[in-house]
Symmetry: C2
Subunit: 329 residues, 2 copies
Amino acid sequence: MNSNSIILTLADLCQYLKEHDNYLVLTHASPDGDTLGSAYALKLGLKKLGKKVQVICPDEIPHKYDYFIDDSECDFIPETVVAVDVADIKLLGDMWQRFEGRIDLNIDHHISNTNYAKRLYLDETASATAESVYEILDELGVEFDRNIANALYTGISTDTGCFKYANVTVRTHEIAAKLYAIGVDAADINRIMFDTKSKSRVKMEMMVLNGAEFHFDDRCMTLAVTLDIQKQTGCSKSDMEGVASMSRSVEGVLVGVAIKETEKNVFKISLRTYDPLDASEICKKLGGGGHKAAAGCTVEGSLKDAKDAILSAIKESLEEIDAGANITK
Amino acid sequence: MNSNSIILTLADLCQYLKEHDNYLVLTHASPDGDTLGSAYALKLGLKKLGKKVQVICPDEIPHKYDYFIDDSECDFIPETVVAVDVADIKLLGDMWQRFEGRIDLNIDHHISNTNYAKRLYLDETASATAESVYEILDELGVEFDRNIANALYTGISTDTGCFKYANVTVRTHEIAAKLYAIGVDAADINRIMFDTKSKSRVKMEMMVLNGAEFHFDDRCMTLAVTLDIQKQTGCSKSDMEGVASMSRSVEGVLVGVAIKETEKNVFKISLRTYDPLDASEICKKLGGGGHKAAAGCTVEGSLKDAKDAILSAIKESLEEIDAGANITK
């Protein structure tokens, strides 16, 4: 793996984008609002500068993003490959081997970026890659329109939980203000992104909550989405997003656990924690990893095996915290 | 009722606030983040100008707002009474008769304001009264601090669903950016306001969703919170907020209905609708009222009576829409 990306400043990056003409823009697999919003805003913006741009997403794009998807014809041979919001080449899913060593430019905001591309523009202080794409297009002198604003707003609002999370800064709100001035359809976008649940999702939530368990003086809540529940409710992969957050949102809960059965006897565990618990430390014990507040791991065996394994790892961390609290008393 | 308030500009208002010294600030009953955030930001700001200020809330203030409540001693006799975010004198709850004809100044953002005060500063383009209070304190030259920022941010974020709703404007985000620059504890505030449910609330949601009903080709969802459910789950008045929004968030649902039993055989019905349905028109048929997207009414009788009454009113509106759709075909 190339771990020696040339690190670009905003000025370097804009110079590079001006000097090239035919782009292939890649998003990460299991696409979210930020990778898609960033990719299509970049496409729409660069097209205004007379460039040719194709976007490729390794997976099917969910229809909820239709309002900013620009599939205009692209009968050209791309010369420059740009990955946006892709922290690691492996996040290209099935396509990663095809593009290994061939990414010319990577625009990202993940501190965990693995420097796999030839050139890297990384702003880890940006709440979303879309925040950086706004600044890039602005620096390039692109005339913003509502489509671009909608794509950028989608990236920013989805990566910040609609301005709710700790990654929001002065700049995030300043850019949002600019997007409103352009006429972004923010309320409609937020309705689609945050306030629309499928009936399958509602049924799934009910079944999952019916089986909720509390542990360790109610500081831990576990929710399990078994294959059986998925089958009974007909819920899709995207219907299952955010189950771990559901559990963390209960008063007093420090660690929310979602256990999703991905195939018979394989359980993907997602953890969401609040200070001082470290989700990443807990998941590392089971071969996983992630961030301090959100991490994951995979356990094989029965649902009971998966639950026992993660609860045992959580118990250790809680005991360390309790011991620490005693010392400082 | 005095329906001839003197309408103040921002400059008039600031002049008035400078010229007076001892304030009593009133919030509305069943206080929310905006009325409390606006009142305490005004108190904290005016104190910095050497004024004396007491805040009175007609109801007990929920503990979740503790972080900006300033109960510093107030051994003085207030001379000037200011109501903030109070659209109608009746919204002072048990206190309204005590203050009728005695409100010197009203600062509000509700288009439905009934002009009950001697002087009115009304900015119906503000997403929250707190947005106006920010501008007032800024105009008065108050040096903002983190406490003031926290109070103002709480008002703005709670009245906009954390920047999610259609009432957000360029200015809302510009002010949010300023509050971030002051050091507002936004992520912590948002966690308390949006991501913390009591266990009673979670239990209540499960029971209510278990009894969910769909009507009119799934365009209407009804959720009932009976006294029995309230008793079984131990949920409080504030635990029951937002049940109507829960139903409207299901895909395809145009009208969400929450039916809350407030006392034996008395049902408070809350409607949340999407275009083209008009919640206010529907509730008017049952003696209620409100806004286009959110309205309410009260029905006496059995739960079945309440449900039949509101469903019949909704049916009429849906039939009108369907007929209109046929005409335009």
